[in-house]
């Protein structure tokens, strides 16, 4: 199995060497041609920067391997297109809904083995609950983002969003393509009906949300809130907190009904030839010091109970059992099974 991967990693090494001239980051650990390669996915942005600069190289030197991080979307179709016995990723990092889709197709293993990943013993229950495939290493809280300079008064319920005073400055998502939008739809069922799965109540509630500005990228919502184009919107806490220190007139509201969780989930592919290294990577990502570094970089709440964040972060992120208990997890398996039908329906609601 090492033989099979030999040429691949050598090629990687050579292309990396060749492209140094153009300006790749000179990793402190110089990978050797016959080092094993662990192929993973990972976010871009700040997350990607810190992974490339610190966390990745540290992993490489500790485990004497090469980490090949694909941060170009879309991960799932690429994994789907590759062969199951030789998948292009060993570890997939993506949001929970996509992980569920992957698990349904048998592209990722549904659970992580606690014997191979000792740090699993230290995570909050939500991180390995029955709503999660693999393990959630971080989560964001989806709640409301608001402008603090418009005199809206204090907001503490999701239902505020339906108040007529936000007509024209209300923000939401294109539900078929955005996880926050999908999670919010489930929340509507809980708020106005019998629960998450009460789609009819959710549709009725969405109908009443109009007029609403909808965007596909979460980043676009952040900008609209910053520019004041939107006054109250559905958003994740990290999308507000990341501007901490810039004196922006925006704040995150954690509604009394609870916040939705937007999990960062790791899974291992069944066909991976690097199982041992893959488990080591998952374990590594759950290490308190790695968790702390990443959490404080991107404002994600760490899944490991033992992580002690600096006060500033500790105050805002979900770092205690009480705070974590406010998290509402979405049943993505249920949702994915009905996605087409839901997409059609919400498209009709927002097209009209």
């Amino acid at each position: 199995m090492m033989k099979a991967l030999g040429p691949l990693s050598r090629r990687r090494f050579l292309t990396a060497g060749a492209s140094l001239g153009i300006g790749t980051i000179a990793a402190p650990y110089v990978a050797r041609a016959d080092d094993p390669t662990l192929r993973i996915t990972g976010w871009g942005g700040k997350w990607g920067e810190i992974m490339k600069a610190e966390i990745g190289p540290a992993f490489e030197s500790e485990f004497k391997c090469k980490l090949q991080i694909d941060s170009a979307f879309p991960y799932l179709p690429k994994l789907q297109a590759s062969s199951r016995s030789a998948p292009i990723y060993d570890v997939m990092h993506t949001n929970s809904n996509e992980q569920w889709a992957a698990a349904e197709m048998g592209l990722v293993e549904p659970k992580i083995d606690p014997k191979q990943v000792p740090n699993l013993a230290d995570v909050y229950p939500y991180a390995v609950s029955d709503k999660i495939v693999g393990v959630s290493i971080f989560t964001s809280a989806i709640g409301l983002g608001m402008r603090t300079d418009k005199g809206y008064g204090s907001v503490n319920s999701w239902k505020e969003l339906w108040d007529a005073k936000y007509n024209g400055v209300r923000g939401g998502y294109v539900i078929p393509v955005n996880s926050l939008g999908q999670a919010f739809l489930m929340m509507c069922g809980t708020l106005f009906g019998k629960g998450q799965t009460d789609l009819d109540a959710a549709y009725a509630a969405l109908e009443k949300l109009k007029p609403i500005k909808i965007v596909d990228f979460t980043g676009a919502m952040e900008k609209m809130l910053l520019s004041g184009e939107v006054g109250l919107c559905v958003i994740h806490d990290s999308g507000i907190y990341r501007y901490d220190g810039q004196n922006q007139p925006t704040d995150f509201v954690s509604p009394s009904e609870g916040v939705l969780s937007l999990e960062q989930v790791l899974t291992i592919t069944p066909g991976s030839k690097m199982k041992e290294l893959a488990n080591a990577y998952v374990n590594y990502m759950l290490r308190p010091e790695v968790q702390k570094r990443l959490a404080e970089t991107v404002w994600y709440s760490p899944a490991n109970k033992k992580v002690k964040l600096d006060a500033k972060y500790d105050a805002k992120l979900l770092t205690t059992p009480e705070k974590v208990s406010k998290l509402i997890q979405v049943d993505w398996k249920w949702y994915n099974e009905r996605k087409d039908e839901i997409d059609q329906r919400v498209n009709r609601i927002f097209r009209a």
Binding site: S19, A72, A81, K223
Partner: protein
């Protein structure tokens, strides 16, 4: 009697009206209308570029109207970013390689199609142009799966091959267009004067089809440099093209850097077109 009278009375009026409308003013209105339509088209074409430029120069991380000032911070951020610089360099590398291969293959194919008495020429032309009909994302996905099956990974040549596939039709089309108007007797004249077929090609054929080949090459460069759907599946970790990098950046940081990158891309495309024009010459000797 009465009908006759009313006829003779109404006829001159109608004629008058017609003569007033047709020759003078209509032509005038037509001119203004023509001008207005042209301006509208121009605005329609240039407005997105203007918005991008405003976005790139706007100091705030979101578009604001009216803009609150002019700043180069997004350009600084763009040029300071190793990721973006690497992506820019890689995109240029891929675009240059693609242009070379698409031009070489496309021009040769067009020559063979126009000259050789190949059977099924129409079918071959249709096949060569077909990547234009197929959604590029499918082309990318299909190639990705092929590479996975062949176990070659996602090498740069694989990406270049993908780009070549979708840029080839442009070169074939533009070259076929000049060849269509090409006077074969010019080649005969050269041979008659003692030029071997190879010399004939370089002395006569190539210089004369050059405008078409070059136009195709420019298309190939720009299409490759801006290519997103085909690249999406074919880029490998650490070697992402600029459009892919921009797309991924967009998901996490939607700020003016995107605008700055777009402006740089536009300027680069311009520089390439003008550079090619100046060095190789776009001026056409053949009437198209």
């Amino acid at each position: 009697m009465q009908t006759a009278a009313s006829n003779s009375a109404s006829l001159p009026v109608a004629q008058q009206a017609a003569s007033v409308r047709t020759p003078g003013p209509i032509r005038h209105y037509g001119r203004y209308l023509y001008l207005a339509i042209n301006i509208a088209i121009l605005v329609f074409l240039l407005a997105p570029i203007a918005i991008v430029v405003v976005f790139a120069l706007n100091p705030t991380p979101f578009i604001q109207f009216p803009p609150v000032g002019v700043s180069l911070r997004w350009f600084e951020k763009f040029f300071a970013s190793r990721d973006f610089m690497h992506a820019l360099g890689f995109s240029l590398e891929v675009a240059v390689l693609t242009t070379l291969s698409a031009t070489l293959l496309g021009a040769s194919a067009a020559l063979a199609l126009a000259r050789g008495n190949l059977p099924g020429t129409r079918l071959i032309v249709a096949t060569m142009l077909s990547p234009l009909m197929l959604p590029a994302i499918l082309t990318g996905l299909a190639l990705f799966q092929t590479y996975v099956l062949l176990d070659v990974g996602r090498p740069t040549w694989g990406l270049v091959a993908g780009h070549t596939l979708v840029t080839l039709p442009y070169v074939v089309r533009t070259t076929l267009a000049v060849l269509h108007n090409f006077d074969m007797r010019l080649e005969e004249a050269a041979q008659n004067l003692g030029a071997s077929p190879v010399r004939t090609f370089f002395e006569v054929t190539l210089p004369l089809i050059k405008p078409g080949v070059l136009a195709g090459a420019i298309f190939a460069f720009i299409v490759s440099f801006d290519q997103f759907p085909v690249s999406l599946f074919l880029v490998s970790p650490g070697n992402e093209t600029l459009p892919v990098t921009l797309f991924n950046y967009l998901k996490f940081d939607l700020d003016g850097t995107i605008g700055a990158a777009s402006v740089v891309s536009i300027v680069l495309a311009f520089v390439v077109v003008i550079g090619l024009d100046r060095t190789v010459g776009l001026r056409s000797y053949v009437k198209l």
